[in-house]
Structures are given as structure tokens and as C-alpha cells.
Amino acid sequence: MTATGVLTRDAVDPSALVRQVSAPMHGAVLLFLGVVRDVNDGRGVTGIEYSAYEAMAAAELQAIAEEAAALVDDVDVAIVHRLGALAQEEASVGIAVAHAHRDEAYRVSRFVIEELKRRVPIWKREHYVDGTRDWVDPSGRPVAEVSP
């Protein structure tokens, strides 16, 4: 079975993620993409810069993949999180989960994204249409402001 969680600086490749988890035994293959959207907290966003405590973030992603794979029998899990400067509509995170049945696949996929957001040491700085940029905290509230 597959249980991998990695960081990348390249574009997230959805087809590659799906290939990593697909197998003849799986009737349900679920792909989640987290994508840079155009507005956050009422402010126009042009892009997001992702950074990480890379060694720990990679270890946490791998640990989450393994914990997710232990939730149900015979499930494949592949997680990738991108770092660097991302534009609108680019994927920052991709999660592929495959299982014989959809209920288990949805449960495992949900576990992965919630754990990832809770504990993986990754940060994002949003760039706004007015030229300013802010670090974002989990509630979406800016924590510091830096002039462009």
C-alpha cells in the first residue's frame, strides 16, 4: 500500500497523484486540491507565497499519510504540498486517496486535510491587489503587515 506525504516546489500534478494511489482493488479514487482563490477575508488576492520549516513539515506530512492509512484497511494515500510563489488557481496542496469504497475514501481524505491544516509547519503570505502583503493565521486574520 502507498502512504506518502511530500513537499514540492513544482506544480502539483493531479494525474500523477491519482496514479500513485490507483489499484485494481479500489472502486473509489478521491482527489482533493487546495487552490489559491481570488479573495480572502474580503481582500483581493493576487497570489500566495508558501514557506515551511521544511524538514519538520516533510516529516509531519509523511506521518499524517501513515496515520491516515492506519484509519481503515487497504487504503492508499498520497499527499503533496507545494512551496514557493503561487498564482491564482494554482494548487497548493493535493491529496489522493483510494479505497474499495467511497465512504472510507472520503473519511481518510478529510482526516488528511484537517490534520495538515492543524499541525504541518507551513506558512502563507498573501499578496493583495493593492500591493500589500500579509502573513495569514489559521482563522484568516492577518498577523503582521509588511509594506511592499
Binding site: M56, K117, V120, P121, I122, W123, K124, W135, V143, A144
Partner: protein, 80 residues
């Protein structure tokens, strides 16, 4: 002993560096690291009890720090 504390994101901006050096007694804990860092100019009104990782694992305030440990302050995470 002298320990290097890694800083990231808004915390690195606040203290103007990606890491700082902290002098600690031999029996120091995470709480001693926090007491030093959160008193520094630039820390401002940021939390006095941020998350801390020791050797790339989340630690508590009572976790002992040993010479050579990798200590990091973890701002509110925002992955995904």
C-alpha cells in the same frame, strides 16, 4: 550553553532574522527559551506562549533543552 533558535514567517520578520542565539542554563527547558525570546525588542504583542518544536517535534513548556538540540518557534500554521 548556547542554543540556536530557528524562526519562521512572521516571527522571523518580527526579530529580523531567521534564527537567534539564546544563552541557557544547563537544566533549561522550553519555557526558558520563550522567556528570552518574547522579551526581545520586536516581539511586540505576539503570544508569550507560541508553539515550539525541539528536534522537529512539537514540545511542551517543560521539555528539557540539551546542547545541540534543534529548537524552533512555530508561528500559527497556515498550510493547505
Amino acid at each position: 550553553m548556547s542554543v540556536t533558535v530557528l524562526l519562521f514567517a512572521s516571527y522571523a520578520d518580527a526579530l529580523g532574522a531567521p534564527s537567534v542565539s539564546v544563552e541557557l542554563p544547563a537544566d533549561a527547558t522550553v519555557a526558558d527559551v520563550l522567556a528570552d525570546i518574547t522579551r526581545r525588542p520586536g516581539w511586540g504583542r505576539r503570544p508569550t506562549t507560541p508553539l515550539v518544536a525541539v528536534n522537529q517535534r512539537y514540545a511542551s513548556r517543560t521539555t528539557r533543552i540539551r546542547e545541540g538540540d534543534e529548537v524552533a518557534l512555530i508561528p500559527p500554521v497556515a498550510g493547505g
